[in-house]
Symmetry: D2
Amino acid sequence: MDFQAILDEIDDELRPRLDAVEGKVASYIPALARVSPRQFGIALRTCAGETAAAGDAAVPFSIQSMSKVFSLTLAIRALGEAMWDRIGREPSGSPFNSLVQLESERGIPRNPFINAGAIAVADRLVSQGDALAELLALLGRLCGEPIHVDAEVAQSEADTGFRNTALANFMKGFGTLDNDVAEVLDVYFHQCAIAMSCEQVASAAGYLCRDGRHPLAGTPVLSAAQTRRVNALMLTCGTYDAAGEFAFRIGLPCKSGVGGGIMAIVPDRLSLCVWSPALDATGNSWLGRQGLELFVTKTGLSVF
Amino acid sequence: MDFQAILDEIDDELRPRLDAVEGKVASYIPALARVSPRQFGIALRTCAGETAAAGDAAVPFSIQSMSKVFSLTLAIRALGEAMWDRIGREPSGSPFNSLVQLESERGIPRNPFINAGAIAVADRLVSQGDALAELLALLGRLCGEPIHVDAEVAQSEADTGFRNTALANFMKGFGTLDNDVAEVLDVYFHQCAIAMSCEQVASAAGYLCRDGRHPLAGTPVLSAAQTRRVNALMLTCGTYDAAGEFAFRIGLPCKSGVGGGIMAIVPDRLSLCVWSPALDATGNSWLGRQGLELFVTKTGLSVF
Amino acid sequence: MDFQAILDEIDDELRPRLDAVEGKVASYIPALARVSPRQFGIALRTCAGETAAAGDAAVPFSIQSMSKVFSLTLAIRALGEAMWDRIGREPSGSPFNSLVQLESERGIPRNPFINAGAIAVADRLVSQGDALAELLALLGRLCGEPIHVDAEVAQSEADTGFRNTALANFMKGFGTLDNDVAEVLDVYFHQCAIAMSCEQVASAAGYLCRDGRHPLAGTPVLSAAQTRRVNALMLTCGTYDAAGEFAFRIGLPCKSGVGGGIMAIVPDRLSLCVWSPALDATGNSWLGRQGLELFVTKTGLSVF
Amino acid sequence: MDFQAILDEIDDELRPRLDAVEGKVASYIPALARVSPRQFGIALRTCAGETAAAGDAAVPFSIQSMSKVFSLTLAIRALGEAMWDRIGREPSGSPFNSLVQLESERGIPRNPFINAGAIAVADRLVSQGDALAELLALLGRLCGEPIHVDAEVAQSEADTGFRNTALANFMKGFGTLDNDVAEVLDVYFHQCAIAMSCEQVASAAGYLCRDGRHPLAGTPVLSAAQTRRVNALMLTCGTYDAAGEFAFRIGLPCKSGVGGGIMAIVPDRLSLCVWSPALDATGNSWLGRQGLELFVTKTGLSVF
């Protein structure tokens, strides 16, 4: 397939819809609210190393919850199966930052992609060493270039992260966080504020479509079985409370972030990232989602 | 791959574990509680028409919730996208017969595979005609031989189906069932009591791995897009509150039933059914699940 | 105190407000929806036997949930402390017909005044004999004249009682109802459809302000301790999800019904009933509540 | 009534039960866990100024949640009806530190006696000035002697108060706290650590049985209507998830604390405090509750 042509078509087709984007911008933190919503980018990288990109694919944006895939990867590398001792693997059926299920399940988050789960993953990484430095180092190796945190966004996350502070203290009260709440949240707020472009994310996610082996990273990032499992989690839990809808309409493992990015994996074929800042009611990128739907329609790629 | 050899290996490897099966038998209805738990069967049918089977693959059993895939198929055929007007597509994060989510979501079931959702599907079918006859006719065409309801099981379902009666009345109170509660439940209790063997289920599910076209059925059962969506639903919602775990460990669209059967789809390759009556704590077949794990380990087949 | 003068004042003061009553009529069953909302009645009976009444105090109306006080009384008489084995005594913090708490508490209703609890009470009475006949006989003795069911309302309850049918089947599924669901619901639907006037209700409730002894009934209806406990339940659980607000503003044990009636007890002083069909958002009589507030303001009577 | 004789009888009757107290000590904070459970005290003060006391009635203990009555009193004095703008008055039907209801009700606590509600009250007081100093000054005036915070307990509360920190951040995230979370929690943790004896609490609560007028305080503490409402809240919400049971068995407005104290009000008669450190499963004083039951049995005092 001529992927560059396909991405160009998608960009051509969707860009006019940016005119309708007003009123849909994420506003929960000031630093994100300032991003212009009139941007759309898409990039992919095939297992064979081919790349394609269109639109604002080189513009860095806040990866937010997409960082959860990479922090989970680090935690699986460090802990193996023990990673799952106090973090579940089931869809939550509830909003991503809900405390209800956390209460009925005694501080054990449903999965690593809801906020509570990602905070629990950060806690495991803090026990292993300098979590943020490790995460940035991994991303740097995967992208072949240095990756940084947007300090202003990180500060904004910390200043307004009352719900996440509640989640962390709630788990600490149940005894399911090992480390100091402030230290764990500091990692979490910084990982959410990492800035990457579509091209970088598509590149970094490459190991997820190649059984855990990344072309630049050299040694395997994850085993083949571990990689399949991360993909399974992305498909069932990666897009907030719209995971069923994504599976139904797009049929690929995806992970979204409130920065407007969505990464998607076609196993044995390619890794892809789409970005557009305005969000729909489920917290997923409004135009990014349309871009993914177009991509699977045009290519016929789907795991189903 | 030599599928017959693989199924024989799985049967050889798992059959000794039947000695440990006591205490795990489903007992919620007397007619199911009487089934001997010391049975294990597995059968598959490839897209090319090849079949393989081992163990008790020819023994008929109560398909229970696996029937929900076929009733959903009928409803999609009849209603198209309108099927989804009052039935969601998201994992529930709650037990299969929970009323909590149904209450907070005003009588709209989360998906067609929880009991409330399947009762809502039955309601739509009742509006179309003789729902049970249609369902048996579809299964007969797909299997190439007549399929029947086990009348004793159906009666047992009706006699003890208080929770399902509650669910149906609850939806009726919200105005999300169109037909008479008793009539809808009669269809639902009978569809759960349909008896089929592993070989028959594997054959009937053939359209789900062939883009909706079944070799015996002649005309397409579903469109390619509809088929992908049913598979997506099976993966995210098909195995009660263990869907994440199934995606994580098995990585295939599956649908289980409390009769001990589990059907699984490998898109573009094959459809498969495994059966063993004893259930684990999640309500899925205890040994069937192990059979599926062995199958994916031995074959490397997975959508991820 | 000159209670007749006080009730006349209340009627004079509130009657003009009936002009604002439109749009507030209960409509969940047709037979209730037909009642003219432009009615207001109030009646009381002191421990010394004095009576007072104003407005539409002699007009019979559907007592609905107020019947739960009398069925509870019958059940306590029959079972004593064993009445409480499978029915709680705590406020629910949830709407009166919620299934959520019933699910998390395994079919044990929170208290006898939510619908599930009253259905459980009806179940206990069915085990004792002809529950409805016993209830009507008790009310007849307490009022000194025959009391009847409004057959049209009872039929309407049965025709539209999907939520209550759900609750009853839900409990039956948990094994916390002993008798046939249909038989229990038949009692419940009929008790809700009993028709009484404010004067009759005020008279019937007389034992609740006289330590369980009713002037007409002869022998004690309940013991003093049992009576105090029924009053405590009325105060904490008697007015749906507004019990705290009633305690806060009115400060008397009350029990309301969606027919628009509210009975109230001033221990050692009097029993009172107010009625006006239009309901507020909490399901309590809109003008009846104002009548009660006026009564306590004018008399200074309160348990606090 | 000879109250001194009655309290002596209660002490005589209950003291032997202290032998059975092991295993019931509260342990959620170390400073409380060290208190010897083999203590029981009871004290009362009538409206006429008569006092009576028995057992360990002069031993200071941590008043914990009983402080919520006094902080609420301060807030009502400062804000009047506006106090209730963002705090409800309904029983919660959930554990005292639950986040579930707070989530579904968007950060508005159900009532001022659950932890979230008391934290919200502390927030309002912080907006008024030096909340802790005001509270200690009020208690000092009511008791006629200085009242202090136990600094070790306050520190212990802060060190282990993860759940309360979660609640406060959760509300802050909903925008229902006005002040800095740390500042509000500092007040809350200190008010819980106030140390008072049964005699002091019984004296301090005197205004609640005298229509808001306290013999020592001079000017009215609350208006008569405000006082009735505080009592109503105590009865419906004052004893965690056992408020219905307390109303049912004891029938008095009560407020308990996990330090083992319970204060009770007999309107127009007396205020009372009982204390014994070991707790029952509902978090209320195990022996204190028995003491209250004995008191109402012996005196016949009850609001019902």
